[in-house]
């Protein structure tokens, strides 16, 4: 966030010649955000497990991952806020079990080995007050004694852990307290903390043309908005609009629409090819038209041609060589051979690794070559276009050679989209002038369009996840738990608080430099105490969700999970030293951990390696995070 504000308030108004150095394009700005490493990690892990497992990426698999991520994520978000404020709470895990157990003990029927027999209307507020009290006590103790929060909350952790077991045994003579559903108003509260959404019952066939149409339209509109947003932030606006461009854009857009409709309506392989090509060309035409309408055409030839031909030529040569080798390996090795050739690899596996590895290396080398040719836009565009065409060729090789249907169909489609995108980038950069200065209105419009686009795509995915059609076949019953809803809502609210409110600024201030914050009038003690109360409040929510899910609470619930919350926050880009971090990142960090947890059984791997794998993923996320941020901050 800081990076973004800097560029907005920075040297925008002054017209110094050097201002271009301070301008950051949309991708660059994205890369300096704290959660970017986690975001890249999520994409990587998703692709990884999607490729390995049949279940991962299906609706049922996604539900399972979200279920695991939800309570973890709620806690990670709260813990991330506290960590931004410069403190830790080691009692956060035990607090989940404590509030869950308290609510069950209060609600359980009275009698020997019974509970208090309170209605939940009384019991739940008492539990909440208890959680707030623990948070307040943590915060006050840390502030009054100036001891590290590590020590204070470790004490609270043991107190809670012991109290859970002690009281459970004392009141019920068991280590599991059960009987929450005996409370008279259980039904009402079960709708709040235990509600479920059974996807199989949510059939959406006719309203607005059916789920699939709504899904497709949302994805297309969202994609278009994102593309417009990126173009608006990348290219220089022309002085007056060029109407012929608009006409061209509309022709392209209608061509693309016709292509999509035709694609959806036809089945034949030949017709599919025809319409796919029409669609691809129409999209490029629309993009060129849109650019011509709004942006300055490229001016060139005044720069001296100091291309580094040797480096460029070497990279092009090596890149082409790598791709040829990769394709050769793909064709030469037996795709069905299960003979082991070495550590964990069969001939089939070796083939896949060689093919993908060499192809990727080749494409990267080509893109690097294009970078070296930046003084000559035509050469640059040519090399980029070559890479795009090769990507499309590779897509076809994958389609004809891959052994699994998933790669032949879905992966093939994504490779085509990537090739088309690369081709469009090459053409657009050749035709239009890139903006090298800050243009407030263009940046604002671009940012908003991108955000609206992402929201539309997200909405489309949500529609797809929540509803089914009568024709869709999903094995088993997909039931979402309300904890997922709380997770998403809490992520939104916490992000708004941290980035847009005074309390959020105070949080960053006390975590960055407490005494300085205090001197400029930030109520440091109060801020930190409230943050501790946010964490124990989140743990209260987690406790309610667990208790209403299982109808019982075991004394050890949550113990030891506090480290998982901290890890999720760190994976999401929050610094252990305070003053820097992101709640969205923490939510993504929780997703990464849930994907790693669930991906392993989905892939059928031996669970013995689970923690090793988890550790490697966590290390990689943190390293990528660190590296990307340094790179992005270090260059301009």
């Amino acid at each position: 966030m800081t990076a973004q504000t800097d560029t907005n308030t920075g040297q925008g108004e002054t017209a110094e010649p050097d201002e271009r150095l301070s301008y950051r394009g949309p991708i660059h700005r994205l890369l300096t955000r704290p959660e970017i490493g986690a975001l890249i990690g999520t994409a990587g892990i998703w692709v990884f497990f999607w490729a390995v497992s049949d279940v991962f990426g299906t609706v049922a698999g996604t539900n399972n991952v979200l279920d695991v991520a939800s309570v973890l994520g709620i806690m990670a978000i709260a813990v991330a806020m506290l960590m931004v404020g410069g403190e830790f709470d080691l009692s956060s895990g035990a607090m989940i079990g404590a509030s869950g157990m308290l609510v069950v003990l209060l609600a359980k029927e009275a009698g020997e080995f019974g509970g208090a027999g309170f209605p939940l209307f009384v019991g739940i507020p008492i539990t909440f007050a208890f959680a707030m009290g623990i948070g307040w006590a943590n915060g006050s103790l840390v502030e009054k004694t100036a001891l590290p929060s590590f020590i204070v909350t470790l004490g609270t952790f043991f107190v809670l852990k012991g109290a859970k077991l002690g009281f459970a045994k004392l009141f019920t003579d068991k280590v599991i307290v059960e009987g929450l559903d005996a409370a008279p108003d259980f039904e009402f509260w079960d709708n709040i903390f235990g509600a479920e959404w059974t996807r199989n019952n949510q059939i959406w066939d006719s309203f607005l043309g059916g789920r699939d149409l709504v899904y497709a339209v949302l994805l297309l509109l969202g994609g278009a908005a994102i593309v417009i947003g990126l173009m608006e932030q990348t290219f220089k606006r022309r002085d007056g609009l060029e109407p012929s461009g608009l006409t061209l854009a509309l022709i392209g857009a209608s061509g693309a629409t016709a292509g999509i409709i035709a694609l959806a309506a036809t089945d034949g392989v030949g017709a599919n090819w025809l319409w796919s090509i029409v669609l691809g060309i129409a999209i490029i035409v629309a993009l060129i038209g849109f650019g011509r309408w709004r942006y300055e055409p490229a001016v060139r030839a005044e720069k001296s041609t100091t291309v580094q031909p040797t480096v460029m030529a070497r990279n092009v040569g090596l890149g082409l060589g790598a791709i040829v080798l990769g394709v050769g390996a793909g064709l030469a090795l037996d795709s069905e051979s299960q003979t082991e050739v070495g550590f964990l690899l069969t001939v089939q596996g070796l083939r896949a690794v060689l093919f993908v590895g060499l192809a990727v290396t080749g494409l990267v080398l080509l893109i690097l070559a294009a970078r070296h040719a930046k003084q000559s836009p035509i050469v640059q565009a040519g090399i980029t276009a070559l890479a795009a065409v090769l990507l499309i060729v590779l897509a076809f090789i994958v389609q004809s050679e891959a052994s699994s249907r998933k790669f032949r169909a879905e992966f093939f489609a994504w490779l085509l989209v990537a090739g088309l995108a690369l081709l469009s980038v090459a053409i657009l950069r050749l035709l239009f002038t890139e903006r090298r200065h800050i243009d407030q209105s263009a940046d604002r419009l671009g940012r908003r369009a991108s955000i609206i686009g992402m929201a539309l795509v997200g909405l489309g995915v949500v529609v797809r996840l929540l509803f089914t059609t009568s024709g869709e076949v999903v094995p088993g019953i997909v039931t979402y738990r309300i904890s997922v809803f709380y997770f998403v809502t809490f992520a939104g609210v916490a992000t708004w608080v941290l980035l847009r409110t005074q309390f959020g600024s105070w949080t960053f201030a006390v975590g960055g430099n407490k005494s300085a914050a205090r001197q400029v009038g930030v109520p440091a003690a109060r801020t930190k105490t409230i943050l501790f109360m946010v964490v124990s409040g989140a743990a209260w929510l987690g406790g309610m969700l667990t208790a209403f899910r299982l109808n019982s609470v075991q004394a050890n619930v949550g113990d030891g999970q506090e480290f998982l919350f901290i890890i999720a926050a760190v994976v999401g880009g929050t610094l252990l030293t305070g003053g820097y971090g992101s709640t969205v990142g923490a939510a993504i960090g929780a997703l990464i951990m849930a994907m790693s947890f669930q991906g392993i059984p989905f892939s059928g791997w031996n669970s013995d390696w689970r923690f090793l794998f988890l550790g490697v993923i966590l290390l990689l996320s943190v390293l990528v995070n660190n590296w990307v941020r340094k790179k992005a901050e270090g260059s301009s």
């Binding site: 490729a51 390995v52 299906t58 309570v71 069969t346 019953i477 059928g604």
Partner: protein, 336 residues
């Protein structure tokens, strides 16, 4: 221009991940993955009943005890050419529920479940049955397997096993037994101590003494308990490790104790050989893993239901000075 480099980096990362992914796909195909049943090898395997994947969603901590259950399940899966996915939840009921749901989502051909915490886990297991997936319970769950619609339960009746331990202590001549527990929240362990109290003629004190993962805590807690109560002259560890810890705690407290244990480990066998531990109650957990997979396999391929509505008992058996030598060889092979 640098922006371009970042695009490249993004692409590299995404594609490298894809590379690893496809490599792993093929590597894991050696295990007989279902999706790619096109090769000749797979077709042969299919005729032998391969392509089946059984999930074992247990409260396992992958310790000494559960690793033998796992070995049993692995051996059975290998014997019938099926895949077995082992999902240990380390005694966390919410985690176990999620593991069961993951198995349902993955389209498991059968699920083995342990019901250490039946109120929390049984509904998820019942949902698996409702989804048409055969379920057996193993290790814990003898009181609930019928209600969830499981084929049968494989394990030992903990009360009966505890009764057996009580009778042994009577024969040894003990007067007051400390029943030392290594887990909180496991109904089975509670029942072992309850069963002990039913048949034992003297007093029984039940105490959680720390997890197996913190052996020092176990020794010190038992030693403290011994110091606090001079009447205790016997310890029943309701797991193998905690019984061995009781030997050390007895030495530390300078007390001569009758010691009994539950289940088998290399350590407890050595202690029985040395005469420090008098006996251990063996529930032959290898059978719990092996039979769970076999029963599921036979149910899927041959519609067999084992047990006739009753549980299949794998214990109690006893290992003491008389048979320790024979059992020791099997323990070293990892099957007892």
């Amino acid at each position: 221009m640098k922006r371009f480099r970042f695009i490249a980096m993004l692409g590299v990362i995404a594609l490298v991940a894809a590379a690893c992914g496809s490599g792993e796909t093929t590597a894991s195909t050696t295990g007989g993955e279902t999706g790619t049943a096109t090769t000749a090898a797979d077709e042969v395997a299919l005729s032998q009943g391969s392509g089946l994947t059984f999930y074992m969603a247990t409260h396992s901590d992958d310790g000494v005890f559960w690793s033998v259950v796992k070995k049993g399940a692995e051996d059975a899966a290998a014997a019938v050419g099926a895949d077995m996915v082992w999902s240990p939840s380390s005694n966390d009921p919410e985690r176990q529920v999620q593991d069961i749901q993951a198995a349902i989502a993955a389209g498991a051909d059968g699920i083995g479940v342990s019901l250490a915490n039946p109120t929390a886990v049984a509904p998820a297991a019942a949902a698996a049955v409702a989804a048409g997936i055969p379920v057996v319970t193993l290790n814990s769950g003898v009181n609930d397997y019928q209600e969830i619609g499981a084929i049968t339960h494989i394990g030992q009746t903990e009360i009966v096993a505890g009764n057996g331990a009580g009778l042994r202590f009577n024969t040894l001549g003990a007067t007051k037994v400390l029943c030392a527990q290594q887990e909180q929240g496991n109904v089975g362990l509670e029942e072992r101590c309850d069963g002990l109290a039913e048949t034992f003629n003297g007093d029984v004190v039940t105490q959680f003494v720390g997890l197996d993962s913190s052996p020092d805590e176990q020794i010190n807690t038992i030693a403290a308990q011994l110091a606090a109560d001079p009447d205790i002259d016997a310890v029943l560890g309701v797991g193998p490790n905690v019984a061995v810890r009781a030997v050390e705690a007895g030495t530390q407290a300078g007390r001569d104790l009758f010691i009994g244990g539950f289940d088998i480990s290399t350590d407890i066998i050595q202690e029985i050989e040395a005469g420090n531990v008098d006996f251990t109650v063996d529930q032959q957990q290898y059978l719990q893993g092996y039979l769970a997979i076999m029963f599921l396999y036979l149910n899927v391929t041959n519609q067999n239901t084992v047990g006739g509505g009753l549980p299949v008992l794998t214990g109690p058996g006893f290992v003491d000075g008389a048979n320790v030598a024979e059992v020791k060889a099997l323990v070293e092979a990892g099957t007892r």
